[in-house]
């Protein structure tokens, strides 16, 4: 078991490396699409920065050699200097942003699970009653309302009508409540729906009837026999959830003026800071691969029928 698990992890890590390499290559050559190289014609770049960049990216070398040079440096974790923010390396900028973004992301993920799973269980347990109907109505709304719309409504309500939370910024936990709630909402809604469907499916299974025929208490049936099977779809949805939370954080960091990785990435895209944008894409890809790996391992641990590697 342990050996197959290790082998599985090794395989997945290799696969992630391949994905990273693909993304790297794609972004590298996209950057080279700009006629005359990415640093030639931009007016905003001061001569010193340009000289540094050209030296750093070895623009004097032929293209294949540039590519290898850049690939090796990136593989060692050096993403190079920023294109628009003088005296900062991409590593430094992303490092600072990462703290903010990961706080936001972790809060949002926990919020989505902590809200979605109980809501789904409740909804399934009271199937067809008014609790169920309200939860599902909210969930449907939560799925359909985009997070930036929700964010603007939240700002209107909680900053102007009932002033409870600050409108943005970074520093206190109160400033994280609104953004992570808005970020979590659509995923909480989807998880609630998945949990409900999973619960209802499992509760209709023969083995739940057997558990009842065995005289087990309802709570034991719900928690020990039903929840585990019902959680499987939720766990497999955690991968897309992570991806969605990473994407959503781009918007919410902008809306709430949080200095996270997402804001830096969007700013980089708007100001054509190629090195920063490329670094951010690579970091996002890496984060996503790691999360996917964790999700897959927990899936394997949860369902004894799944054979590793299949």
């Amino acid at each position: 078991m342990l050996r197959t698990l290790t082998w599985f992890v090794v395989q997945r890590v290799l696969w992630s490396c391949a994905t990273l390499w693909l993304v790297f290559t794609a972004t590298f050559f996209l950057m080279r699409l700009v006629p005359g190289g990415p640093f030639q014609l931009d007016r905003n770049v001061s001569p010193e920065i340009r000289r540094n960049l050209i030296a750093r990216f070895r623009m004097d070398l032929p293209l294949p050699q540039q590519y290898w040079e850049h690939l090796f440096r990136t593989a060692r974790g050096d993403l190079g200097p920023s294109f628009t923010i003088a005296d900062y390396s991409v590593n430094e900028i992303l490092g600072q942003g990462f703290v903010v973004s990961s706080a936001l992301g972790v809060f949002a993920l926990l919020g989505a699970l902590g809200l979605g799973v109980p809501a789904g269980v409740l909804s399934a347990a009271y199937r067809g009653r008014s609790v169920d109907r309200w939860v599902m109505l909210l969930a449907t709304l939560g799925i359909a309302v985009p997070n930036f719309v929700l964010a603007s409504l939240c700002i209107l309500v909680f900053v102007f009508v009932v002033p409870v939370f600050p409108a943005g910024g970074w520093g206190t936990w109160r400033q994280l409540v609104l953004p992570s709630a808005c970020l979590a909402a659509p995923f909480a809604a989807y998880i609630a729906r998945l949990t409900r469907t999973g619960m209802l499916e499992v509760l209709g299974q023969d083995y739940i009837r057997l558990a009842r025929a065995k005289g087990l208490r309802s709570s034991a049936i719900l928690v020990r026999h039903a929840l585990r099977g019902a959680m499987l779809p939720v766990v497999s949805y955690l991968g897309p959830t992570t991806a969605g939370i990473l994407t959503g954080s781009l918007v919410l960091e902008k809306v709430f003026a949080l200095p996270g990785m997402g804001s830096h990435f969007v700013d980089a895209a708007l100001q054509r800071d190629f090195t920063l944008a490329m670094g951010a894409v690579l970091v996002y890809t890496l984060l996503l691969s790691v999360m996917m790996l964790i999700v897959d391992i927990s899936y394997v641990l949860l369902d004894p029928r799944v054979k590793i590697g299949e």
């Binding site: 083995y207 057997l210 558990a211 025929a213 065995k214 005289g215 208490r217 026999h225």
Partner: protein, 342 residues
Amino acid sequence: MTVERNNLKQNTILQVADLQVEFRTQYGVLTAVNDVTFQVSAGETLAIVGESGSGKSATQLAILGLLPTPPGRVVRGRAMFGGEDLLTLSERRLQDIRGRQIGMVFQDPMTALNPFLTIGTQLAEMPRRHFGSSSHDSREQALAMLERVGIVPAVKRFDDYPHQFSGGMRQRVLVAMALICRPQLVIADEPTTALDVSIQAQILDLIQELAVREGTAVVMITHNLGVVASRCQRVVVMYAGRIVEMASVQELFSNPRHPYTRALLASIPRVDAVKSRLVAIEGQPPDLVSLPPGCAFAPRCTHRIARCSEEVPQLNLSEGGTEVACWVDPGTIDSENVRHET
């Protein structure tokens, strides 16, 4: 009521009376179980026979309070067990009885076991729940029970998951679950239909052997008359939610009275018959939503008289202790050829 029936009553452990169960479907309300009355004595094996949709499973689920409600509903009736009416008990009290005093063996061993928990966990949780055994004791009891149903070496299989077992082995595990708390009554709902023919007999023998040893009464729900012949003492034949005939095994096989029972017996393929042809009962099984006003079997019955389609026949004591629900005088049927001899 006869003397014989009163005698039976003294050691009766389960008495079901006037049970009526309805299901609400999109086509209308159907009565799955109608006026069902029977009793089970301690230590006996009773068979409930009927085709699918005849209400045998619904009867059993209603008794245990496992009917899927909303669609299903017990309209009226009593199910006396140990001085209590199972149909009016609270869910908590029922939970104490289920598994502890009444065991269940389900039809399909492939789906009845929880795929996420080991066999051992699923078995050991029963003594822990009902006797409050420690985890060590319940493990010991579970191991002993596994040995007794022929899963050896039990220690080795204890931590295996259901998907690592074959169908027959899983059914053995289910039998172990039904009997581990030494219940007074075991209800086996078609325990062999999902299994290979070669394994069916093994499982049936296992249930019978364990039941005899523990003095447990067994209600065997089946559509297989072969099972009935060799292993049961009494038979209840159901059709369209009603009991049409109730008799001892010997009486039922040697002298079937209800036309439906006869047709059932005739439809068993016989190897020794000279001219063999698969005999089916003519016509369609009844539509439970819109049953005819009289006897539900009347449209398919070759002996029907005018009264059959007007009034529902009640169970009446006939000779040999058999109870039959039929308007036709058995004598007139006897004179005709029984179909499987043609």
